[in-house]
Symmetry: C2
Subunit: 182 residues, 2 copies
């Protein structure tokens, strides 16, 4: 089975973290603005079922993403479907209109500026993202793909890397949950 | 307000109709295969609400179409949303998988071979389609766009044209309804 091991930490001083990463030879990518519009299902309470449906718009392209419930409590493994929308629907507005016609209701929009990076660690390539989320704050996400055999090792690699970057306690809530909890 | 005036008639001898149209100078287009996959809503009975959601695949392209309830009983006017799917989803299979994840269930697939034509009539351009529908039969559809002022005239033009082609009684049911009624 395929897992995504993911940890998220609040960052108090993003400039300091970027400096620290750069000094370690990590290239921190340019800021990319992402807008994620989340929708409520007409018959299921996605907050209860732990599902999510969103339209993500990045520059001149939009994607629709469905996330299934987390499959266990320790890792954030879940089914994920992502489809690009047609080029004629670059801002996702036509798809949003379709969702409305099908009875889906807009919940909230998570807007963030993301800078991506990679950290080589014990031969593994950790995917990192430094996210400044409107109304929520700045966070760093560390992520590694794993299978059954490598799951425990992946967890250790992520934890060690978070320690080395002197990150504080991890945050389990999604950006949408944090935004709605305000 | 914008209307689509539409009439559909069963055709017993398609070859005879094509000959008749050709003799009147009408160019009947090449056969195009269309497959329409219809889906049931997770919480609404579309047969009751008179809505429809389908993925249409024509050659190397797919579209998703939502049809709202008919707005009155005499004409078949309804809200219609149609979006092309991304080129990476030419057969619509990714979108079908997304619909399944959202709780939509496949109902039936209407497969037909369509030949399109236009009939000039009293300065109007009637859109015609000769459809051979798998498991349902062969039908001809005649359609004209109209607004409030031209609605009655459009109905007359369609009716006169159907008379001239010696078409039998009109069929009000959709191909999906006829397929499901079998």
């Amino acid at each position: 089975m395929h897992f995504e091991v993911e940890q998220k930490h609040r960052v108090d001083d993003p400039g300091e973290l970027v400096t620290q990463l750069t000094e370690r030879g990590v290239i921190v990518g340019p800021p990319i603005v992402q807008a994620d519009r989340y929708f409520a299902h007409p018959a299921r309470d996605y907050a209860q079922t732990d599902e999510a449906l969103r339209i993500r718009t990045v520059g001149e392209a939009s994607f629709v993403t469905y996330k299934g419930p987390k499959l266990d409590t320790t890792t954030k493994t879940r089914r994920e479907l992502e489809l690009p929308l047609a080029e004629t629907d670059a801002d996702g507005s036509q798809f949003a209109e379709l969702l409305a016609a099908l009875g889906f209701k807009p919940v909230a929009t998570v807007r963030k500026t993301r800078r991506e990076f990679r950290i080589a660690h014990d031969g593994r390539d950790i995917h990192g993202a430094l996210d400044t989320v409107d109304g929520v704050g700045t966070f760093v996400e560390l992520e590694l793909s794993a299978d059954d055999a490598s799951l425990e090792a992946a967890r250790r690699v992520i934890a060690t890397s978070a320690d080395q970057l002197e990150l504080g306690p991890s945050e389990r809530r999604s950006y949408l949950e944090m935004l709605l909890a305000k």
